[in-house]
Amino acid sequence: MSTLLLAIESSCDDTSAAVLRDGVVLSNCVANQDAHRAYGGVVPEVASRAHQVNIVPVVDLALQKAGVDKSDLSAIAFTRGPGLMGSLIVGVSFAKSLALSLDIPMIEVNHMQAHVLAHFAEPPHPTFPFLCLTVSGGHTQIVRVTAPLEMEIIGHTRDDAAGEAFDKTGKILGLDYPAGPIIDRLAREGTARFSFPEPNIPDLDFSFSGLKTSILYFLKKKRKENPQFIEENLTDICASVQDRIVSILLNKLVLAVERTGITEVAIAGGVSANSALRAGLQQLGKEKAWRTFIPAFQFCTDNAGMIGVTAHFKYLAQEFVSQEVSAVPRWKIGSEGA
């Protein structure tokens, strides 16, 4: 008999639902105008009220796209943390209610673990052990993965995340939020001819706060000489900043490979959509004979598909939770979620 899982993700801004059969993603929906058209509503923006409005339509849509009836579900998976309390609560409560009414088990999932296991949504899959650099607006970490459910963080940011470095730079440059994709696009037309310092952070940890400050000082100085400096050099500034952010990330990956001897190298999280990071990783892979892995875009950003993929591993291991489970805003990979 096949295993049918419904997975729910509501840790931050997006409400998402996915349906999986035997670990294969049948549908992976993020609440947007599509999910709401049937209900005649509009999509609210941030946080818990938005999730409350989104969750029923997006679950309906995921089931419908998968061609699955909820009475056939084997279990329900949900993001227990880390994330914003008010947002997590919506997904956790919904999962508990539905599991209770259908009398099926529940599976808790760590959102950061799910980003890593998103690599198992579609082939090619990395083999164990592998390294995964997870980069997003809120996170930057290198994870050593020894088995589907065994992983440890071996490096992480001490201040800002890489995605935040993109967004804050965008703010300084007067670009719209989120600025990551805009900088990516502008950088393609520019040359990385301005140099920003690489922070001197020991081991496999990262820091992006100093980079933000040095960009700020650099622009302040240049604009004193030429008030039009940003406008006249926008593409080159973007290329230079992106070049530095990517090199900070990749240099630490090189160090992580040297230290662990692991040459299966993956990236995950929303920033792994950045074209320079993708190209840089592939180039490094060729030079150093690593096998490199980048998930499809739909599995990079926050999505329930990756929650479902992780839950499938847990289903096979029979790792279920009881109705006493509650959301945990801070939950590090490899620690107990209490």
Partner: protein, 144 residues
Amino acid sequence: MELIFRDLVDLDRTVVPALLRAAGARRKWMLSGDIGAGKTTLVQALCRHFGVQDYVTSPTFSLVNAYSYPDAEAKEGQALIHHLDLYRLKNLDEAIDIGIEEYLGDPWFCWMEWPELITPLWPEEVFKINLEILEDSSRKILFL
């Protein structure tokens, strides 16, 4: 009151003790200042002062980061700190949606970056801090 500081040593030795003295019983702190002015760096120093063990990272994306530190007077011996950042929120409604009133009304420290968005919700007894980058890249901190 106004202080100028240059580095983390000044921040730890001079600024943090001065702020805590000036704040007195006020636990809701509003941290204003431009990008790069040092708001998160100040919160990192405050957390160091209280003995927070976790890495203190930017809450811009997560909106709220919670930390705990040992406090014999608190229930279960642990007190909480909420580090908020309203940078990416667009209006008061979104702030209410994330439960902002809870963080303003509870007994714990709440250190809030980009708090101007919710001025109408500020409790009466807030501690206001403004950080500014000076020409020589030292920082000026104003508080009242």
